[in-house]
């Protein structure tokens, strides 16, 4: 399944957030979108998955524009996991995972044999079988995230889109989620597209990285092509020292400093200030 993005522009009201972007998402690979706060990462992801409409250009999946596709038909091709979704209180793990079968059901939606198999499989892959009768909100953050991933898996789609799947998780749980996604890509051939904040995680787990700056493409390529001091400077306005991970041999950012002085433009300063305020 091919995803082609042609001259895509997305925005809210008068503000354009993604500007005339064109790229192609690699089939059967893990692609990560990185960029500074407010650069349009999530907006791009949402536009590709028809969560928000786009103003210009086109998103083409399998030769068809998603604006013209039936939303239910699209739900059988791609699954999405929004940024920190909250589950209803008291909802059981297996109930939530079973909603992944929604696009395949009719009427009141009793589960077919195929539905049950898919749910069982999704629970197994995410190692949640033993928790299937527990309420989702009684689980840890990492487990909860796995439940949502299991729901997306039960949807049985070739592509899975995730918006910051590791936010609010501790280091170990972050890795657990990313390794799960890596396994799904390797063993099941799923195409995975996600937004991540941590460039080192992006480098370690992705085949391709899409770097955005101010709603435009700053770079698109392998971790080796993207993880360069020049590109990170352009994207994050940082002075980065790049080395190689002694274990995975992937490029990593060992340390970095903010760039001060003439190269730091006003917009960046605003962004930074907003981030500071937001985190307080």
């Amino acid at each position: 399944m091919k995803v082609q993005i042609e001259g895509l522009s997305v925005g809210y009201e008068k503000q354009t957030i993604v500007r005339e972007m064109s790229l192609q998402i690699a089939e059967g690979k893990i692609t990560t979108i990185i960029g500074a706060n407010g650069c349009g990462k999530s907006t791009l992801l949402k536009a590709i998955t028809r969560v928000i409409p786009y103003q210009g250009g086109n998103v083409i999946i399998d030769g068809k524009s998603i604006a013209k596709m039936n939303t239910k038909a699209l739900a059988k091709k791609l699954a999405i996991l929004p940024q920190n979704p909250e589950s209803a209180q008291g909802l059981l793990v297996q109930e939530l995972v079973s909603y992944g079968r929604f696009p395949y059901q009719k009427g009141l939606g009793s589960l077919s044999k195929k539905d049950k198999e898919m749910i069982e499989w999704a629970l197994e892959v995410t190692r949640l079988t033993e928790f299937c009768d527990e309420p989702v909100d009684s689980l840890s953050g990492g487990q909860r995230q796995r439940v949502w991933i299991a729901m997306a898996l039960a949807q049985g789609t070739e592509m899975i889109f995730l918006d910051e799947p590791t936010t609010y998780l501790d280091m170990a749980h972050q890795l657990e989620v990313l390794e799960l996604l890596e396994r799904l890509n390797k063993d099941e051939g799923r195409t995975i597209v996600m937004v991540l904040h941590d460039v080192n995680q992006a480098s370690r787990f992705s085949h391709e990285i899409i770097a955005l700056t101010k709603g435009q493409l700053a770079g698109h390529g392998t971790p080796e092509q993207i993880m360069t001091p020049a590109l990170l400077r352009k994207v994050f306005n940082i002075d980065a020292v790049i080395g190689n991970d002694p274990r995975t041999k992937k490029p990593i950012c060992i340390t970095y400093d903010l760039i001060k002085g003439e190269e730091r433009d006003e917009e960046m300063a605003d962004d930074f200030a907003r981030t500071l305020v937001g985190s307080m």
């Binding site: 969560v51 239910k72 739900a75 008291g90 009141l108």
Partner: protein, 335 residues
């Protein structure tokens, strides 16, 4: 609560329906007139029924049936609103929907004092729709919507405003008595004629709610998730809002302005069946119906032969419940 949830739904529902039937039987059986169980059965199954046959047939039967439908309608309307807004404090009575219907009803009585039931029902629907639009309009002006508490505040403001209109119209045109006859929140004097006019709308609303229950479950999770699962959320929301207007408007036509039923019942029901609306909706019908029949029955016998207004009884139970809910930060009553 976990123990209750272990009981499968196909056992919970029959038990709750049995409970409903028993309460309905008692409500028909007991009253100011000294009827026996034999009278009741004869009135139902035979063409006789002793001296109280007309009391039973003309007064108690329609009243109990009306109580059931009003309770079901308000409980389901509350559940739907809570699901659509993902706000556990949503209730047609608290968010201005029934107050809107109420105000429209007062206005209608001014222009057509002898309005037929259909005219009154339709004006209730329009008023309910306006009440809902006002509250959601206020909510929509804030980016990302209002928090549960603020939405309730907006609802209180709109309710106060619409109530003032209803009262003002009543005083200005000297029809306060007619308006309060409708809106004192009682089922006193419900006739078969009123039932035949209103109940079909409630039945349609309840059936629609049932048909939409699976969609509502998905929508109540998260809007982006619902889109991702292939739901046409705009269409689904419109249909569900229509259901709320239908149910709340029809309830007002029967019983007047009544808050808290739509708030309480869905929360109680979720403690038994969880959060899937395929189970919540039918359970709300039987639970809400039982509650309303019981509340009306209590109002009738508590200080017989005088009537205690059902709205007082519901508020006495509802207000503490609301306060507990607020104290819990608007979280659901689920284990």
């Amino acid at each position: 609560m976990k123990v209750i949830r272990k009981v499968p739904f196909y056992m919970q529902l029959p038990v709750s329906i049995l409970f409903l039937l028993i309460i309905m039987l008692f409500a028909i059986w007991y009253g100011a007139a000294d009827t026996t169980l034999k009278d009741v059965f004869e009135a139902i199954f035979q063409q006789k029924g002793g001296q109280y046959r007309s009391v039973l047939l003309e007064l108690r039967f329609p009243r109990v049936i009306a109580a059931f439908f009003v309770g079901s309608a308000l409980a389901v309307a509350g559940a739907v609103m809570q699901g659509v807004t993902r706000n556990p404090l949503a209730d047609p009575g608290l968010l201005g929907v029934t107050a809107g219907a109420n105000a429209a009803l007062a206005g209608t009585l001014v222009f057509t004092p002898a309005a037929s039931y259909y005219v009154i029902i339709v004006s209730c629907f329009i008023g309910a729709g306006i009440g809902m639009i006002l509250v959601y309009g206020i909510s929509a002006t804030v980016k990302g919507g209002l928090s549960p508490m603020k939405l309730v505040l907006a609802g209180a403001a709109v309710t106060g405003f619409l109530q003032a209109i209803a009262d003002g119209v009543g005083i200005l045109f000297n029809i306060s008595k007619d308006v309060s006859m409708w809106t004192s929140g009682g089922l006193i004097g419900t006739t078969w004629q009123a039932l035949i006019g209103v109940v079909p709308f409630i039945v349609i609303g309840l059936i629609l709610a049932m048909i939409m229950s699976r969609q509502l479950t998905i929508l109540s999770l998260n809007e982006d998730v619902a889109i991702g699962l292939g739901q046409n959320i705009a269409l689904v929301k419109w249909i569900l809002m229509f259901v709320v207007v239908l149910l709340a408007g029809a309830s007002v036509a029967l019983v007047g302005n009544l808050a808290f039923v739509g708030l309480m019942i869905p929360h109680m029901v979720r403690a038994f069946v969880g959060t899937d609306y395929r189970y919540v909706i039918p359970m709300c019908m039987s639970f809400g119906g039982s509650f309303m029949v019981l509340a009306d029955f209590t109002g009738r016998i508590m200080n017989a032969p005088f009537e205690t207004p059902v709205v007082s009884i519901v508020s006495v139970i509802g207000l503490p419940f609301f306060l507990i809910l607020v104290r819990k930060g608007g979280k659901a009553f689920v284990a």
